[in-house]
Amino acid sequence: MAAVPRQPDLPPPAAATGALGWVRRNLFDSPLNGALTLLAVYLLYLVVPPFVEWAILKADWSGTTAKDCSRAGACWVFIGVRLNQFFYGFYPVAEQWRVNTCLALLVAFVVPLFIKRFALKQWLGAVLLVVYPVVAFHLLVGGHFGLAHVETSKWGGLSLTLVIAIVGMVAALPLGILLALGRRATNMPVLKALCVAFIELWRGVPLITVLFMSSVMLPFFLPEGMNFDKLLRALIGVALFEAAYMAEVVRGGLQGIPKGQFEAAAALGLGFWRSTILVILPQALKLVIPGIVNTFIALFKDTSLVLIIGLFDLLGSIQAANSDTNWLGFSTEGYVFAACVYWVFCFGMSRYSQWLERKLHTGHRR
């Protein structure tokens, strides 16, 4: 009786491990899933190869005129030639360093805020909110310190989009917080009613009617001869509109704070403003960061509507370039380019908000 020698363990069947196993588990684990996979592959086949061919393989990349676009694919020459205008609008070429400086300053101020170990965040944030706008305003508008005056009607392209978006964000958040606090002020019924009316009014109408009102109708409501800059009016319209949306987001956060926090703050002898600023808001805003960023994303996308009132933002300058006689028939390239730019900004913001949400998830959630 010879002992049967112990056989080594067999490896799992080839079909359950490695790439093949993954494919089986994730793509073909049932007939329905198999069919769906095939359908999805077919869809990809329909969309991806022609797009790659058009956008990359058969595209024209270099040249200066429409005649250089002889191949069947996209004509990126069009974008290249107009790139300066898409970025700066009609901002004089000699003065464009001012736009660049503004942007560089912004980046220089904002980046340290994201560095965890940086100690002076509060000071930097204060500088960013108080000093930076003043500096940026004087840099962009000019007229002082030997800088040539550049009218806002010459602003355009992506830089205008950024100006509207950033001013909108900076103005909408505090306004939204005030409105949300007003809406929660149960001991002041009149104030509450006013805030509710304001919020619902702005949330109820489309942004383009707001922009139309602010761009051509506002002077009706002002004394004769009194007037101010068209861009400024558009900015006010956008900021008030987004503030109403922001107010609803912040209200959600305020509702999520248990009553005990208010009572504890009061017990410590903090007045309304101090308890709100020091105790309630930091917690409430943390709860709704995703909502706030979503509002910012919506605002960034909404800036494209200013083209309807005749401001040449990124999309507006692309529309204008599309009707250039020398470059007819390349609107698809223009739209694809604009889509990519907007997408990068919005996707970046949404990823950041998801990351923040995960990072802050450790907080109290009941």
Binding site: N33, T37, A40, L191, L194, G204, I208, L307, I308, S350
Partner: protein
């Protein structure tokens, strides 16, 4: 017992500027006075400016003859109709594109949202790519893209894309055969109504029976059969009273048939695709909000996956999904005003555009337009409050 007396006498009333009630009232008075003052000031300026510049006011213009043509109207409209009529036409066009957009966006959004959660890796990635692409690109850009880069590049009528001899797709629009209802159609209509009523009754009966005995009845198959068979029988018996009129190329354009103008198609496409990306996220969040224990409990009870989804997950997910869903519907309705960029005659483009300019009565026209959107949004808000109250979790 003797009264407790405090050593220092009764506590002093705080000075009025420290009394929260006084402060609240003063603050509110100041704010409302400010708001009223600003309001009065603005309205006064407005009236003064209107009077000084000799601009006509009032709503009398609504009865005047409009005198321009509109390329899509759901009600009768011609050049001799009034400005008031253009308001109705614009409003209906807005409601049409919003209604259709809501239907398409919901269907697409649910499909993508469920696909996003699919166990199939490829399908879920594709759904994610769809969501991340379309919700991060401005809607206006998408509208312009669909209209100028896609629909206006379709072939002209003379080289129309065609399906058989009755459906044509050109850059002037999609042309479908128009059904014409003959004499006997009343019977068919009657049969449809009867079939619907019978299905409703059947469903009631089946539910009552199931609650009594636990036996199930294939309601869906039975009512589907009823709805198909009854009208079909009536149609054949009445001697086929419906004839289809195919569109034909006549001179410059197709005539006869039903047409969908490309402005509507592009707007609808952009609105549906854009909003579907948001709805998909809403649906996903809704489904994820139903705890995994529910699914496990359902399978422990022996429910098949399809039934688990339909009977356990979706009813609970709805509670979370419906409020954000309604606000997406509201957004879609407001976003339909971007029609003005591609010339679809909606309320903003037609009434707050052409009519405003022909009459010059900006204040009245804008007030009416904004009032419409406000009314729609308030109606939806009211519905949402009612729904929330109804669906709120009743705990024992």
């Amino acid at each position: 017992m003797s009264q407790m007396t405090q050593p220092g006498g009764p506590p002093k009333r705080p000075p009025p500027w420290n009394d929260p009630r006084v402060r609240a009232i003063t603050f509110q008075v100041l704010v409302s006075a400010g708001v009223i003052a600003v309001g009065v000031y603005l309205v006064h300026n407005l009236l003064h400016n209107l009077a000084v510049r000799g601009i006509s006011t009032g709503f009398g213009f609504l009865d005047n003859r409009a005198g321009f043509a509109i390329n899509q109207s759901l009600v009768h409209y011609d050049e001799s109709s009034s400005y008031g009529r253009t308001f109705v036409v614009g409003l209906l066009n807005t409601l049409l594109v919003s209604g259709l957009g809501i239907v398409f966006a919901t269907i697409l959004g649910f499909v993508i949202g469920v696909a996003r959660l699919s166990r199939n890796w490829l399908v879920s990635r594709l759904a994610a790519a769809y969501i991340e692409t379309f919700r991060n690109i401005p809607l206006l850009l998408q509208i312009l893209f669909w209209y100028f880069a896609v629909f206006l590049n379709l072939p002209p009528p003379s080289e129309a894309l065609r399906v058989g001899d009755s459906v044509f797709l050109t850059l002037r629009g999609l042309y479908l055969p128009r059904p014409e209802f003959g004499d006997g159609f009343g019977w068919v209509a009657l049969a449809i109504v009867a079939a619907l009523a019978a299905s409703a009754a059947l469903a009631r009966w089946a539910r009552a029976r199931q609650e009594r005995t636990g036996e199930r009845f294939p309601v869906f198959a039975a009512s589907a059969g009823l709805v198909v068979v009854l009208p079909l029988a009536a149609y054949l018996l009445a001697g086929r009273p419906v004839t289809l009129h195919s569109p034909e190329l006549e001179g410059f354009n197709f005539s006869g048939g039903v047409s969908v103008i490309p402005e509507l198609a592009a707007l609808l496409m952009a609105l549906s695709i854009y909003t579907a990306a948001f709805i998909a996220e809403t649906v996903r969040a809704g489904i994820l909000s139903v705890s995994h224990g529910q699914t496990e409990a359902a399978s422990a009870l022996g429910l098949r996956p399809g039934w688990t989804l339909r009977l356990v997950i979706i009813p609970q997910a709805m509670r979370v999904t419906i409020p954000p869903l309604t606000s997406q519907y509201l957004n879609l309705t407001k976003n339909s005003s971007l029609a003005t960029a591609i010339g679809y005659p909606d309320l903003v483009s037609l009434f707050a555009g052409t009519t405003l300019n022909q009459t010059g009565q900006a204040v009245e026209v804008m007030a009416m337009t904004m009032a419409v959107y406000l009314a729609i949004s308030l109606a939806i808000s009211l519905f949402m409050n009612w729904f929330n109250a109804r669906m709120a979790l009743v705990e024992r």
